[in-house]
């Protein structure tokens, strides 16, 4: 018998009685103002939220971000956003991204409860771009927000998405003397641009 069958046979000897699988549909905290809650949480986890009236204002808002202005190399993954010196060399080996200063990339969905933004390989060539850039800027449609994680998983699809990530704030660690420090291995800072009008207040 191979290891797999041995393990399964051993598992089948278990005496646990059958318990039905509970459902979490419609479960979870909801907020009066989900976007406001998201902004609050993002700030709490060390990120910065910036509201942007419409697509046309994105470039201007980006220029207001210090790390963007002073960056030597910016990788731009948001359509319609241009910069004076866009150094968008298409890279073959992800290691070439080592010197990347700023990545501007689309975020797909925000979670009000925890300030997380869903991103995935649908929008990038190399998965590592989300963490290897010194600074990360995500651009999200302000309407794309859910109250809590349960709702988020109802919305997300995992077909054809080999890699996806919830990001909640800049990389951090509390491993030295339990002191929280930003900029461990991943991006040192996170800005989130919330583009367009906020979602209508949900009926409760």
């Amino acid at each position: 018998m191979n290891s797999k069958n041995k393990i399964l046979a051993s598992i089948r000897k278990q005496p646990v009685r059958e318990i039905s699988l509970p459902d979490s549909n419609g479960f979870g905290i909801r907020y009066e103002d989900p976007l406001g809650q998201f902004e609050n949480m993002l700030e709490r986890v060390g990120g910065v939220a910036l509201r942007v009236a419409d697509q046309a204002q994105i470039a201007e808002t980006l220029e207001s971000i210090e790390v963007y202005r002073s960056a030597k190399w910016v990788l731009n993954g948001v359509p319609g956003v241009q910069r004076d010196n866009p150094d968008e060399v298409p890279v073959g080996d992800p290691r070439a991204l080592e010197q990347l200063d700023v990545a501007v990339l689309p975020g797909e969905l925000m979670v009000a409860e925890n300030g997380a933004i869903w991103v995935s390989t649908e929008n990038v060539k190399h998965r590592v771009v989300y963490v290897i850039a010194e600074h990360l800027i995500l651009v999200v449609d302000a309407q794309q927000i859910v109250h809590n994680l349960h709702e988020a998983y109802d919305r997300l699809s995992f077909e054809q998405v080999q890699y996806g990530l919830f990001i909640s704030g800049p990389s951090k660690t509390a491993d030295i003397a339990a002191t929280l420090v930003k900029g461990a291995q991943g991006a040192r800072s996170l800005h989130v641009l919330l583009v367009g009008p906020p979602p209508p207040t949900p009926e409760r």
């Binding site: 393990i7 080999q162 909640s168 990389s171 509390a174 003397a177 002191t179």
Partner: protein
């Protein structure tokens, strides 16, 4: 291995013991704050416990489902009966790919299997990339906590360590500066790595994907650069549906560090373009634990660390005093299930206050299990004679009214009069780090009788 003697060494350094106690309690307080803002927290725990209970009741089905889904995504699945087979498989994959430099992200399983040593013996260089794990690796120690592995080390000591290994200034001992040093050093390691090894927090049977949670982003740095990724998971990590992640991710981060979610929650559903993704599913004693009716709920564990943060014994005795890969209450129930003789003292490293059970996000009956283990251990006759003897005496005294009253009287009189050396002798294990409270003049009985008498007047 014996918890009391290891703990005694630890508390001898009073200042450090108090510092550790405070640092760990701080995490417990953050957990409370994060939990209190969720009105449905108790229902969430119930959901988590029931989903885990359900999964364990048909674990074989879910593992098979997971395997076939994962294979469809192009993931290569391996099964390992024990630590040795796990290590062989991982080494085999690395050798086949010609990998010499490997970056590893936090995985208690590979720690349990002593993978690092195994690979190093085969000329494969492993670097732990979680900062806390890197620190303990450089110090050639084991982690002392499952979430913050270097929590027992002060920042000045980290500065000394970095000075020694990276030649940095000794005065650069701010956590900020130290993190910056580690970041630069680790960046190079990531760039040069041939392969990445990670743990798994949750494996989803429905989709065949798996999720890993970190705050530092080391999993994503590690797996995003080399073309080979090996993930290692225990059989209990599988959950039925993608939406169950909503339940467990909410429970995990809030319970562990008091964050609303970890900074990075990475979902892997297949290898990167041109890359290879392997998954090793490991039993190593878990299926035997599953067969033990009284103890199998311990497999619900999502490794959040809340039970150790809240435990008065863990906080004061430090993670290393347990001598098992996983310390704290959960380690104390898992250890004896692996090797009863070696870890018999762990279920006694508890005051049975029940705080662990109260915080556990997946409702493991931790303090009940600790008590159950004590029964098994006493039954197996492996307790040292001092403990057996005192327990025998206690049982005799407690069963006999006359003896009980008389010894109470003797104790009250004697404890006040006897010289210290006579009371705190070698057999008084309890009194080694503790003093008796002030001895009252009257027994409760006398006080109660007197009070009744006075009230009737």
């Amino acid at each position: 291995m014996n918890h009391p003697s290891q703990a005694a060494r630890y508390v001898a350094d009073q200042e450090r013991a108090h510092w550790h106690d405070n640092v760990i309690w701080f995490m417990r307080e953050k957990r409370d704050q994060a939990v209190n803002v969720i009105p449905e927290w108790e229902e969430l725990r119930e959901l988590g416990a029931r989903i885990k209970g359900h999964t364990l009741s048909r674990l074989d089905d879910y593992l098979e489902r997971f395997e076939s889904q994962a294979k469809q995504l192009g993931v290569q699945i391996h099964w390992a009966l024990d630590a040795e087979e796990h290590n062989q498989i991982v080494a085999g994959i690395l050798q086949a790919a010609g990998a010499r430099k490997v970056v590893k992200s936090k995985s208690m399983l590979t720690e349990e299997c002593h993978l690092n040593q195994f690979l190093q013996e085969r000329n494969i260089q492993v670097t732990d990339t979680d900062l806390g794990e890197r620190i303990v690796q450089l110090r050639q120690e084991a982690p002392s906590h499952i979430i913050t592995p270097a929590i027992h080390i002060k920042h000045e000591e980290v500065a000394e360590l970095f000075h020694e290994h990276f030649g940095t200034d000794l005065s650069a001992s701010d956590p900020d500066q130290l993190v910056a040093v580690a970041r630069d050093a680790l960046r190079r390691t990531f760039i040069e790595a041939d392969a990445a090894i990670t743990g798994v927090n949750f494996a989803v049977a429905e989709t065949g994907g798996f999720v890993v949670c970190t705050n530092e982003g080391n999993v994503d740095m590690g797996t995003g650069l080399p073309r080979l990724h090996i993930a290692c998971m225990g059989i209990e990590k599988v959950i039925p549906r993608i939406k169950d992640l909503g339940v467990f991710l909410r429970l995990l981060a809030r319970s562990s560090t008091g964050q609303p979610i970890t900074v990075y929650t990475s979902h892997f559903h297949g290898p990167a373009a041109g890359g290879e993704l392997h998954l090793v599913i490991v039993d190593n004693g878990r299926s035997q634990l599953l067969q033990k009716r009284k103890f199998n709920k311990a497999l619900n564990c999502i490794r959040c660390g809340a039970c150790m943060n809240t435990c008065p014994v863990y906080r004061r005795s430090g993670g290393h005093s347990y001598g098992y890969t996983i310390p704290g209450p959960i380690g104390s129930v898992l250890g004896p299930s692996r090797k009863l003789k070696q870890f018999y003292s762990l279920p006694y490293a508890s005051s049975l206050c029940g705080s662990c059970t109260a915080v556990c996000p997946v409702k493991i009956d931790l303090h009940h299990q600790l008590l159950e283990w004590r029964k098994e251990i006493a039954g197996a006759g492996i307790l040292p004679w001092t403990k057996r003897f005192t327990m025998k005496v206690a049982s005799l005294v407690l069963r006999n009214t006359w003896l009980y009253r008389t010894s109470g009287w003797i104790a009250r009189v004697m404890l006040r009069r006897l010289p210290r050396a006579v009371v705190y002798h070698r057999l008084n294990l309890w009194g080694r780090q503790r003093d008796f409270p002030r001895i009252p003049d009257t027994s409760f009985r006398q006080w109660y009788a007197q009070r009744n008498h006075e009230q009737q007047k």
